[in-house]
Amino acid sequence: MIGPDLPASANVVRYVGFARIRGDRVDGSAFCLRPGEGGLSIHWLDYYSDLTKEQQLIQVRRLLRLNVGARAGLAELNIGETRQYVASELPTLRFVHSPSPANDRYPADPAHSDIVGLPPADAEDLALLIGDMIAQRVKAVHPIADA
């Protein structure tokens, strides 16, 4: 089930491995679905509305369910800016809240969200075109390690 849309004013981050980071930019392939995927995992920074940006990032890093690479990054997007920029090519793009419940291995991740409405993996040309557009709206790439 797809959750509610996040507000246009919200800021989110997506984990990006080092091999897809180009200096202070992120490659658009980081915003493409893999075969069988329905959405891209992101984290809603403003969920932690009473924290500073650095504290929000610490929370996200703490709850990532990934084997984190040493020089990976967290690419930050503003939802409204990104949707507006991409709308001419892909009006279906949505950012939805999909909190992850706790399980045997991980604590609950209440800020977890997804980007949905992206082109499927087998439509590679369109997927990369949209991915590159999203990547052009990345505001910052935060280090994966806490400051």
């Binding site: 091999a19 897809r20 980071i21 180009r22 490659d27 392939s29 040309d125 369109l126 590159d132």
Partner: protein, 132 residues
Amino acid sequence: MATTSETRQDKKARQIRQAYRSRIAELREFGEAEGVTINAASEKDFWDFVKSLPATRKGSLILMENGNLRAVWEASDDSHLALQFRGDRMVQYVIFKRRPRARQVSRVAGADTFDGIKRQIDTFALQTLVFR
């Protein structure tokens, strides 16, 4: 003067190739840590393409999850050329081009041969983005 100019061009081309070698070594190391191995056919095509256009500016290079190398040239006006080297001398491209005085950006994506990509660079007037 012509000789000096050629030498300067050659030196710049060598520096760019060295920067690409360093970046590919880095991508190989970090890619393997992330479970991705560089596709040898993609790497060969990347080098063949670079050598076929000796006066190119340095692009950014990344490793895709499918093991292919992708090179990107971009400008501050959101114009952009991204080339994924698939092997067999076929290249998947994404082009964004803001025409002078135009509000909208033209955007296309597809696949083409090396020669076809060179024609696309001409068609979309991306010479200043790609060439020195």
